[in-house]
């Protein structure tokens, strides 16, 4: 019971200290999980991160589930995950109420119009970062262009592109005999 509480508390702390998620979380996990608690080695953490990235879901959540599972089995995985999302729940609910109360003010609307411009630039930067690890050859570029055109022009669920691109990847690399 005590260790479950420590898992929850440690990952709640990681949740509070993570801004933006993904790789921003790695140094914090290194300090809390590897150096302070000794729950995993640096190599294991890198492995969890790599797997967290190539399994569905939010990377921070996947990594928390992994480490929790390693410590205390299935229950540990669940508790660590609840810990990492707990601060988000509290903070966002508090903030959403505040934003709701002030959103009718003109200057707040102007401020959000400015912030949306910043969001464009942040998404653009995120795409460039994803691009570097995703688009490495002609086939990958072709998949990128098809998925981009499809998302912009067709009115279908993103699930379809996820399934089709996974099949395309297998077709190109395994049935097409292209070396991975």
């Amino acid at each position: 019971m005590k260790e479950l509480w420590i898992l929850f508390y440690t990952f709640a702390k990681v949740g509070v200290m993570t801004f933006g998620g993904g790789y921003a979380m790695l140094p914090i996990l290194q300090r809390e999980v590897v150096e302070r608690k000794g729950w995993a080695t640096d190599e294991e953490l890198t492995d969890y991160f790599a797997i967290g990235q190539c399994t569905p879901g939010v990377i921070a959540v996947n990594t928390a589930t992994f480490i929790g599972q390693k410590r205390r089995g299935i229950l540990g995985g669940i508790v660590a995950t609840l810990g990492v999302v707990f601060p988000s729940l509290i903070i966002i609910i508090a903030l959403a109420g505040v934003i709701d109360a002030f959103s009718h003010l003109t200057w707040v609307q102007h401020a959000f119009a400015g912030i949306r411009v910043c969001v464009c630039v942040l998404i653009f930067n995120a795409v460039l970062k994803l691009w570097k690890s995703a688009v490495k050859d002609g086939w990958a570029l072709a998949i990128f262009l098809c998925a981009l055109a499809g998302s912009l022009l067709l009115d279908v669920s993103p699930v379809i592109f996820v399934v089709l691109s996974a099949v395309a990847g297998i077709a190109i690399q395994i049935w097409g005999g292209k070396k991975a």
Binding site: A60, V61, P87, H110, V119, A147, P158, Q173
Partner: protein, 186 residues
């Protein structure tokens, strides 16, 4: 049953969004189009709030959307929906850790998934550009919000090329953009 629907939508997002927080964006745009929970413009605000507050961005967006559409229980249900597939998938993968990483079918599938995921985030970005940089209902040159385009150009230089500012946390740029927007009346 809004809670059941929220759980289902975010379960789907958690199951199919590959590559971390921003990869949930295309699913959220899809939700904005199909439900009356929030609009595309509200979604852009949510991205900013999620980036500027502690916590993984994907989780923050789920909490925010859940709160807007179903209050506090909605926030809890949406967040649980998002993380449930992760818990299931990771617990399964943890059992076959080595063979999963080395499996050539898994690697080949991700070879195809990564560029598609990047493209879907890019497409979501195009939507944000339309909301943030263009004036709705205008035509010709009046369609472009020049103040916004100028701010975007400055931010691009500051976040990518200027070596004193590019290491700054995104929250700094979000706050500065909010101040500029309020002062110059965007």
């Amino acid at each position: 049953m809004i809670y059941l629907q929220l759980f289902y939508e975010f379960f789907k997002t958690g199951l199919f969004a590959v590559g971390g927080g921003m990869a949930t964006l295309p699913f959220l745009y899809d939700m904005a189009d199909r439900t009356d929970w929030f609009t595309r413009a509200e979604l852009a605000n949510m991205v900013a709030v999620s980036e500027a507050t502690p916590g993984p961005i994907g989780v923050n967006m789920a909490t925010y959307v859940g709160y807007l559409s179903g209050g506090i229980p909605g926030a809890v249900v949406a967040t649980l929906g998002l993380v449930t597939p992760s818990i299931i998938v990771i617990l399964l993968v943890a059992a076959f850790l080595k063979s999963f990483r080395d499996n050539r079918y898994v690697n080949a599938a991700f070879y195809g998934l990564r560029p598609a995921s990047t493209a879907m985030v890019a497409a979501a970005g195009v939507t944000v550009v339309a909301v943030a940089l263009l004036n709705e209902g205008a035509t010709g040159l009046a369609m472009v919000n020049w103040k916004a385009v100028a701010l975007a150009a400055v931010l691009l230089v500051l976040t990518r090329w200027c070596k004193w500012t590019k290491k700054l946390h995104p929250i700094a740029f979000i706050l500065a953009s909010g101040v500029v927007g309020a002062l110059l009346q965007f």
